[in-house]
């Protein structure tokens, strides 16, 4: 069953608040090299926004094109007792929190998410390392969840806080999107993969699928969604774990 959610409700408030071309707010980008990089990053974002003005969908593939295996990248299994307990309870005790600049903070069980209108899509996942794989994803469009929560006018970014702590720096994985990527009809909170429940390695119980972006933007093990007006106060302020840790591009385009 595939159903596209109306994005009008969310987009109406978005356009009115002038958030369509908001870039990433950066606080420590002072050196000339960083400024060039930031300029190019912003330019890529604006160019792709212009090209995406008619809101096209990314290419979807047929089931016969599914990759036989789909590489697990990043965290295989989140370390720690918390995740183990969630896993032992088959995520019955887990709830997705939606908070921040929203009118109605939400706390949603996996069942509640599964009962929402869903979308199933077969898409290409491209990793910035160079490999790519085709998978089928089932989930609730993020735009639907955001419209249930109701974005406040000052909302600009959607931040995904994850359950996996990364050993390299001891911080939890996180990612963020601007509102246009967030409400794209193919941007899903996915709980199913290839017709089965989302495997652990691919981010159970819930992961982000943002088909307009490259691999690392597709956060796994999503636990909490925070709507903010600026990314500056989260992590090191660059909008994501890889962005903070290794200067990965925030608007990875794809």
């Amino acid at each position: 069953m595939t159903r596209i959610i109306s994005r009008r409700g969310v987009l109406g408030g978005l356009a009115a608040s002038g958030a369509l071309l908001s870039g990433c707010s950066r606080v420590d980008e002072k050196t000339p090299f960083r400024q060039i990089l930031g300029l190019s990053d912003a330019f890529t974002l604006r160019a792709q926004r212009v090209l995406l003005a008619n809101r096209p969908l990314v290419r979807e593939y047929s089931l016969s094109q599914l990759s036989a295996t789909f590489p697990v990248n990043g965290t295989n299994l989140p370390p720690g007792d918390l995740y183990k307990r969630l896993l032992d309870a088959e995520f019955r005790s887990w709830q997705l929190k939606v908070h921040g600049l929203v009118n109605r903070p939400l706390s949603l069980s996996l069942h509640q998410l599964q009962d929402m209108p869903s979308r199933t899509q077969v898409t290409m996942h491209s990793c910035d390392e160079g490999w790519s794989a085709i998978g089928q994803w089932t989930g609730v469009p993020l735009g639907h969840v955001l419209s249930l929560a109701g974005l406040r006018p000052e909302a600009r970014y959607v931040v995904f806080h994850c359950l996996d702590k990364i050993s390299m720096d001891g911080n939890y994985y996180y990612e963020s999107l601007d509102l246009l990527d967030a409400v794209h009809p193919q941007t899903l909170l996915a709980y199913g993969m290839n017709g089965k429940p989302l495997p652990i390695g691919h981010g159970a119980p819930l992961r982000l699928r943002v088909e307009l972006q490259i691999g690392y933007k597709n956060a796994k093990f999503v636990d909490r969604i925070e709507v903010v007006d600026s990314l500056g106060s989260i992590g090191k302020g660059r909008g994501g774990w890889w962005e903070d840790f290794d200067r990965a591009v925030w608007y990875a385009g794809q």
């Binding site: 990053d41 090209l51 990759s67 036989a68 898409t123 290409m124 390392e129 307009l212």
Partner: protein, 275 residues
């Protein structure tokens, strides 16, 4: 011959747009090749078709491994042929997260790998914008027909054979012959500007989900997402080959004179006397 009176003439060979584009491009391609190689090193396997991942039918695979030896070995596989390239191509380097294969260039110690793709895109913008402008400039200024398209006489078999033989013997062109591009040179420049470089830009764009959403069929133009990546890499290697030969030829044909002509525009050649 040159001793008693330096009978030379000076041509204003390269107008400003040519010099500007040449050096902008040189810088852009330098950064693009370097960052491109760093990106390639992380997954040095090439596939044909839409998807591709390690262990699934790469037609070209670079690799490095310690095996049981103390000295790491590197290898190259093309199809079913394997070569041991230890000491000749590729090295293994300890990145701190395990061994990292490096095809050619190691990154500086403080390089942030996450930013590699950002740098690649920044200079890709420069290349992608200047290329069509330059291609149009060549056309509008009639430089395309006056300096880059080979003449009918140049394309005759005997003339081409002579050029090939002179190139192979590394003969420096002199007098009138030095004042214009030879046919091999013209064909190479045309191939690079109107062939290789547009393919670089297009195959780069073809790897993007966004660009494929905007222009459906872009990736299929190359045979799929991974094919576009393979075309991108192989065309880059052809460009690198062009640059090597190009720089070598600058030394053959006269480094000082050619560098001056690409900096100030002025090219000096000996005047031929009527006998």
């Amino acid at each position: 011959m040159m001793g008693r009176s330096r009978d030379v003439q000076v041509d204003y060979r390269h107008p400003l747009p040519v010099r500007l584009w040449h050096w902008t491009n040189a810088a852009a391609i330098g950064v693009l090749l370097f960052t491109g190689l760093l990106i390639f090193d992380i997954h040095p396997h090439l596939y044909w078709g839409e998807a591709g991942q390690e262990g699934q039918g790469a037609f070209i695979s670079f690799s490095g491994d310690h095996f049981e030896d103390k000295v790491p070995r590197t290898g190259l596989r093309i199809g079913s042929h394997r070569w041991n390239t230890t000491g000749r191509l590729g090295v293994l380097s300890d990145s701190g997260f395990g061994d990292q294969y490096l095809l050619l260039a190691p990154a500086p110690d403080d390089w942030q790998y996450g930013a590699t793709r950002g740098w690649h895109f920044a200079f890709a913008w420069l290349l992608a914008f200047s290329l069509p402008l330059y291609a149009l400039y060549l056309f509008w200024s009639r430089r395309l027909s006056s300096t880059l398209l080979p003449t009918r006489a140049q394309l005759r078999g005997r003339s081409l054979l002579r050029e090939i033989s002179e190139h192979l013997r590394l003969h420096r062109a002199r007098g009138e012959a030095a004042r214009r591009y030879n046919a091999l040179q013209k064909l190479t420049y045309l191939l690079v500007i109107y062939g290789l470089m547009p393919v670089m830009v297009l195959s780069g764009l073809a790897m993007s989900n966004t660009m494929n959403a905007v222009w459906p069929g872009l990736a299929e133009l190359f045979g799929g997402h991974q094919s576009a990546r393979s075309v991108h890499f192989m065309t880059a290697m052809l460009l690198a080959l062009f640059i090597l030969v190009h720089v070598f030829q600058v030394f053959v044909a006269g480094f000082g004179n050619l560098m001056r002509s690409m900096i100030t525009g002025r090219f000096v050649s000996e005047r031929e006397r009527a006998r």
